[in-house]
């Protein structure tokens, strides 16, 4: 034993005698994680959250969350002597008079965008591979919660500098609050401490942005990761991989090194963007005044779909009993998002109801092997994309010489027409890919090499696949629709009423697939 080992050993012993950590560490540091690039999308979200905490703390040292009127007297000449709130003035101060302040602000904002991008990308990976299935439904719900809170947290951060753009955003948020029937006006008065814009809102959302929501984030992320730890990570199917094992590398040293390195790369990408690309140049927007508005006012991208929905809504209002119900805000601003997010949260339970599958799943599915789910995902994505396009309709109109009305009508019709088309196309594509897999297994890889046989016949040489490849292509489950009886014991038709009928049809749709080649089929082909 070298001297170094002796010293390290005694230090480790000292800690272990007081914490009993050795046993726990030994067990957990060797914990195995599977290896795939798509498993690292959630990591990106985690790391950008850490960057947000670090850069955000820096910004709080100088930011003044107050709506007191001040006259600007900093180094940005075009705003000299302009009246503005202390919040906006201190953001200008951070940008131009604090060393490294603008860089920190930009890194903070870019990592916020990357954070939301990574959450959505991670969500898509989890959805399309079926990683949300039993026993991971709770973790799916926590994830949906994190996404929702991320949108709110991002919006509040965007609102804090009190520039022309963020004030416009808050004004729209106020309109959405007011659109809630009966209690809307009271809620808006409560939130703003009186009429808009009031003088308390910035300090209120500041507390929520830097204290309340980050705290909830930390708690939820911890539970999210603990559940991954406890339930073990899912893995893609392949030889030697079963529902009962995890094939991969141990946390120590492989993943420690990989994850540690990846953190710095994510930090590097955010810092690079913050250094070279301008984001939220609030000095150009000017201070917020309720009487002003800029053309092309936009929210950050994760709110863009919501803005697009509101922009697409036709102006419909109802006046009844001295109240106005603004359907044009209520439906796109609250009802549709409510339906979308509730549907997303409940999807694991809906799918299990459709397929009747109550088993545990630790092996992921290739998206093509569950055509119905993949099609539902693609359909929802298409809906969101159409909304997002309309959110940027004014920018798209000027950049591509289109008419804003044309884009709006495209959205109004497209929201109903495009998602179903995408559903059908995606489902057909998945089934075709399954068919291609089946052909590949049965006939091998087409080499493109033509050979003339002794009889003078030309044949293309098919190269047989490796056993591993064949296993991977054929291991997926063969679905069958639920065996729901058409008639009950007494011969009465329509068991379960409308719900039963719907479930039967849904289960048939969910089970649709191309049958995997069987061993006998493969043998038969070999004899040819």
């Amino acid at each position: 034993m070298s001297k170094q080992e002796k010293v390290l050993g005694s230090v480790a012993n000292y800690v272990d005698e007081r914490t009993g950590a050795a046993k726990w560490m030994k067990k957990n540091l060797t914990k195995v994680f599977p290896d795939h690039w798509s498993f690292m999308l959630g990591e990106v979200a985690l790391y950008s959250f850490v960057i947000l905490l670090l850069t955000g703390t820096f910004l709080t040292f100088w930011f003044d969350p107050s709506q007191n009127e001040v006259v600007y007297n900093g180094s940005y000449e075009p705003l000299k002597d302009v009246e503005m709130t202390a919040a906006y003035a201190s953001t200008l101060h951070i940008s131009f008079d604090v060393r490294g302040g603008l860089l920190m602000r930009q890194i903070h904002h870019w990592s916020a965008l990357i954070f939301m991008v990574a959450i959505v990308a991670h969500l898509l990976r989890v959805f399309f591979t079926g990683a949300f299935r039993k026993p991971r439904e709770f973790n799916w719900l926590i994830g949906v919660g994190l996404l929702t809170l991320g949108i709110v947290e991002g919006f509040l951060g965007y609102s804090l500098p009190d520039d022309l753009l963020s004030g416009t955003g808050i004004r729209i948020a106020e309109a959405i609050i007011q659109a809630i029937p009966v209690v809307g006006s009271y809620l808006a008065f409560f939130a703003f401490g009186g009429a808009f814009p009031g003088h308390v809102f910035i300090s209120r959302i500041y507390t929520v942005h830097v204290l309340l929501l980050p705290g909830i984030f930390l708690a939820l992320i911890t539970i999210h990761l603990m559940l991954v730890w406890y339930q073990k990570h899912t893995q893609y199917p392949g030889p030697g991989r079963t529902e009962k094992n995890v094939v991969g590398y141990p946390l120590m040293p492989v993943y420690m090194a990989k994850a540690g390195g990846f953190f710095f790369i994510v930090f590097g990408v955010c810092a690079f963007l913050g250094a070279v690309a301008s984001i939220n140049p609030i000095w150009l927007y000017g201070p917020y005044t309720p009487g002003q508005i800029s053309a092309g006012s936009q929210p950050d991208w994760y709110m863009g779909w919501l803005d697009g929905l509101v922009r697409a809504a036709p102006p419909i209002e109802t006046h009844a009993f001295g109240h106005t119900i603004s359907w044009n805000i209520l439906i796109p601003g609250l009802i549709i998002p409510g339906i979308l997010f509730t549907g997303m949260a409940l999807y694991p339970f809906i799918e299990s109801w459709m397929t009747g599958d109550k088993r545990e799943h630790h092996l992921l599915e290739r998206p093509r092997n569950n055509p119905n789910r993949t099609a539902i995902g693609a359909m929802s994505l298409a809906f969101m994309l159409v909304c997002l396009v309309n959110g940027g309709n004014d920018i798209i109109a000027t950049q591509f010489n289109l008419t804003i009305n044309g884009i709006m009508w495209f959205t109004r019709i497209g929201l109903f027409v495009i998602p179903p088309i995408v559903f059908v196309i995606t489902k057909r594509l998945c089934l075709s890919l399954q068919r291609a897999d089946r052909d590949l297994v049965l006939h091998g890889r087409e080499t493109g090499r033509l050979v003339m046989t002794a009889e003078g016949e030309f044949v293309e040489v098919h190269e047989p696949l490796s056993a591993e490849k064949i296993y991977t292509l054929t291991q997926h489950e063969q679905n069958a629709p639920l065996a729901l009886p058409d008639v009950d014991a007494n011969g009465v038709r329509g068991v379960g009423g409308m719900k039963g009928k719907l479930r039967k049809r849904a289960s048939i749709a969910a089970a649709e697939q191309v049958p995997s080649p069987t061993l006998t089929e493969a043998k038969e082909i070999e004899h040819h």
Binding site: V254, S278, S297, L402
Partner: protein
């Protein structure tokens, strides 16, 4: 016999169904005649002081007008179904529209766009003189009077700009979309004279900002702010078009996610 006998006779017809229209005709005729006599008198009065080069210029402008503009604006600039009347728009309007190449229009699209001018400076001046001769209107802005560099205030101009212009031209004058394919053009690179003329003539969808709404001094401040926005360096790095969060989101999704997925693929494949 009372003196009101004739009146009485007339008043019998006061509720006649032709009474109001015929009174209207009489009123219009008298106003029109008075106006035509009065306006006839004005050129007579000025013709003595008008130098010959100006009348030559007007004549030249009329020829240009008949050739290039009258097919849409009418032989007497009275306007038509596809183009507005130019009587009273003033020389400033012509100078702006023709000088920036917007007129004549290349096609009947939603809006005339800025392009290479078709007429040279002398021809533009002739056209402006002709249109100005039809009826009084804002005159061409003398560039020497545009002392925005000396008299304007950037910060006051910024506030005025955000109050009056940003809702169409965007917070930094990059332009923005209007309804039905119309748009507010970018102000970057636009000459001070044309910015000023646009404010006083209100071309196309733009409102007219009279000297009462925005004083000439304030107009100079607005020009100074626009010029400052144009020359301001991109303080935070690449500007991404100065159009707000749309391009930022696009960059986060393409470059940000792209490079991170690339790294993830690299990290996951190295271990094999």
């Amino acid at each position: 016999m009372t003196p009101s006998n004739g009146i009485k006779k007339l008043s019998r017809y006061r509720r006649h169904r032709w009474a109001a229209p015929s009174l209207m005709v009489v009123a219009l005729l008298s106003v029109g005649t008075t106006f035509s006599i009065a306006s006839e008198a004005t050129p007579d009065a000025t013709s003595t002081t008008m130098n010959t080069s100006q009348s030559v210029q007007i004549a030249e402008g009329k020829q240009l007008f008949l050739k290039g503009c009258s097919s849409c604006h009418g032989l007497n600039a009275e306007g038509g179904s596809i183009a507005p009347s130019l009587i009273g728009v003033g020389a400033a309007s012509v100078d702006f529209q023709v000088g920036t190449g917007r007129m004549p229009m290349a096609d009947m699209s939603q809006q005339a766009m800025r392009k290479k001018p078709l007429y040279n400076e002398a021809q533009t001046a002739a056209l402006a003189a002709y249109v100005a001769s039809l009826a009084p209107g804002p005159a061409i802005v003398d560039e020497a009077s545009l002392t925005w560099e000396r008299d304007g205030s950037t910060s006051a101009g910024g506030t005025l700009f955000r109050n009056n212009c940003a809702m169409c031209h965007n917070f930094s004058g990059q332009g923005g979309a209007l309804t039905q394919g119309k748009y507010a053009p970018t102000l970057m690179g636009v000459e001070a004279k044309y910015i000023y003329e646009a404010m006083i003539t209100g071309p196309q969808s733009m409102p007219k900002f009279s000297d009462k709404t925005i004083t000439p001094a304030e107009k100079l401040s607005i020009i100074k702010w626009v010029k400052a926005a144009q020359t301001e360096p991109n303080l935070g790095g690449a500007s991404l078009g100065r159009v707000g969060p749309v391009t930022e989101g696009l960059l986060a999704w393409t470059f940000g996610l792209g490079i991170l997925i690339g790294v993830a693929v690299w990290l996951a494949s190295k271990a094999r």
